[in-house]
Amino acid sequence: MTNIITTRDFKSNAKEALANKTLQKALTHVEAGFIGKRRLAMEALPEFDQLRDNARDIKNHTLANLDAYLEEYEEKVVASGGKVHWAADGEEACNQILDICRNVGARTVTKGKSMIAEEIGINDFLEKNDIEPVETDLGEYIIQLRGETPSHIIAPAVHVLKEQVEEDFRRVHDHLPVSRNLEEPESLLDEARKVLRAKFLNADVGITGANFLIAETGTSVIVTNEGNGDLTQIVPKVHIVLASIEKVTPTLDDVSQILRVLARSATGQEISVYTTFSTGPKRQGDVDGPEEYHVIILDNGRSNMIGSEFQDMLRCIRCGSCMNHCPVYHAVGGHAYGWVYPGPMGAVLTPSLMGVKDGGQLPNASTFCGRCEAVCPMRIPLPKMMRHWREREFEKHLNPASQRWGLNFWAFFAKRPRLYHLATSLGIPLLSLFGRRKGYFKYLPLASGWTKYRDLPAPETRTFQQQWAQREALKQGGAK
């Protein structure tokens, strides 16, 4: 699998995605599978909005004291026998993981779902170093077989139809009888379970992400439904936790507040099936569990977001609710966004991590409909931050010249009411005249972006201001 970044090609990616019938069919499952369930879960908990406020406040407090919390957390991990590694960027994190694997002579590594693992491209890196990474989350496993990247942060294979999964399983699991029935999702799941069970039992190292790192106890938390994350971290001799700096959260109670909004916002469950709190390696007397426990704390650009207008983005708990409710995501899916993080959260985070020059397309691709912010459990003002990115882009003259020219032309008039009314009182009646016969234009020079797909309603007659001025003049005349 190669991680080619195509964020700059968002527009052409989107066009391809819109023309891809299989993808379009698969994308209907996003709206059908998430939105209604979230609403029901939310309605069943009257305190939901209060918990959202609490969750936001907890993260804000943590970010305002982040250095102190990270130090506390590290101290607790060490006290429980774990080891903490700090990684400034993806390359450093990859090398730290490789060193840990080599130390125990690892050949196979199982992996729980982790977006940060995608961010740093650990799978590619391990393969190049002759270590086999095995994704164990069903969705991640499917896309690993397909050589793809996730298209959704909690449903990585949401772009794939079951018929495609069947094809992939037949191609890769070629030791199994050809005659087996794989038509239904049940049989596909059974087969994945059997194949992966063997991998779990033979893995040397397990890598998981973390939904939270708890400063109170030095604990890492993962949230899953399949149980794959647990088998990844409980069976092998070594457990590596890969987490970014903003995952640290003060206490067990604080984490419980946020957990109450996480699953409800993500899948519409009240809580995920498995929420697992891991603290250090196997203890004296334990009969299972890993002998080594490592935490990689990754920065990769995040510390620069502290104190910036993008700091609020560090509250994100990766529930995926923003993309589940995004009309643009529904239309083009996750791959069009060109990197690891799609949808509204990706539109803000991607330029934060890779720079506005490469990621600037994404925050532009939003109607600012605000549904993402309305459903965000952490109350992240996503549209506002997308607008901030547009401002950065504008300041740096990175948006296309034609756009800037058009904007300047418009703004020149908008700032000069007299001139504006003069120009519009000449232009609008003329346009109205041309459009009068049909009431709309099928094509209009300079408006082809509009008329390519829809007709342009013609102006009624003269401008409102013209008509109003006339009405007022008549009134005045009448009064005299």
Binding site: P327, C369, Q403, Y440, G449, L456, E460
Partner: protein, 252 residues
């Protein structure tokens, strides 16, 4: 004493559909307001604001503040323009105490039309008649920034003969998004096509909304598809001005 209301006409209504402005004035005058329409208005600045052009946005916002701040109320027949003034102007001037104060003062007296009628003037019902099945699209900014959803429906419910046929996902974006619809026309088209489907399956003869941008987008799509559904601003219906050509319709 009659409340003095300045109409923020909005650039699209000014240019494309003055009728909405006159409908708004009728509704406000019927409710006992004294209306003025300041000449020195052009646009609320959203095109610049959403394109990242902060300097022009601020210049336009100052112009709007100066023009409107002396009135009792400012009313716009658009949720998105009203939200721009009400929500975003104060944010624009976070670092400028004097302008911030003026922006906040203006924000407090600025309203979207249907919200002003119901929430401020406490209009309970409208005395007009329209025998049609209508469906209502919740434009995004009005819905999510100003909480406008119940107000237009309440007023519409009082229109004699009118039957409301709610479409599925009325709160989902129509794909307009200002400059978005031309910058990302392919995606915008996918979104508005879906919207047109839900409008068509609602069984309504008439689509209503409170924002002309969204209305032009949906009307343009419906027209291109050859749909028979007519499109109007909610103020037209409430003011009893549903005669004459609908949006994107030829004059008879």
């Amino acid at each position: 004493m009659a409340p003095k209301v300045a109409l923020f006409i909005t650039c699209l209504v000014d240019l494309f559909r003055p009728k909405i402005g006159f409908a708004a004035i009728k509704l406000l005058e019927d409710a006992g307001c004294e209306i003025s329409v300041p000449v020195a208005q052009t646009c609320c600045g959203q095109p610049a604001y959403n394109s990242g052009d902060r300097a022009d946005t601020e210049a336009i916002a100052k112009q709007v503040i100066k023009t409107f701040e002396d009135h009792d109320y400012v009313v716009a027949p658009s949720g998105s323009c009203a939200a721009m003034i009400k929500i975003h102007y104060p944010e624009l001037f976070k670092d400028d105490a004097d302008w911030q104060r003026r922006a906040v003062a203006l924000s407090k007296k600025t309203f979207e039309l249907t919200s002003f009628l119901t929430d401020v003037l406490e209009v309970e019902q409208i005395d007009t008649h329209l025998e049609q099945k209508v469906t209502y699209h919740d434009s995004c900014a009005g819905l999510r920034e100003l909480g406008i959803a119940g107000q237009p429906r309440k007023l519409l419910a009082s229109v004699d003969g009118l039957v409301m046929e709610e479409m599925k996902d009325s709160d989902v974006c129509c794909g307009f998004g200002g400059t978005f619809c031309v910058k990302y026309s392919d995606i915008s088209n996918a979104i508005v096509s879906k919207k047109a489907d839900t409008i068509n399956t609602s069984g309504a003869d008439l689509l209503l909304a409170g924002d002309l941008g969204c209305l032009m987008n949906m009307a343009g799509k419906l027209k291109r598809q050859g749909s028979k559904t007519k499109v109007r601003h909610v103020a037209e219906v409430l003011a009893g001005m549903s005669d004459g050509p609908a949006i994107a319709e030829a004059k008879k």
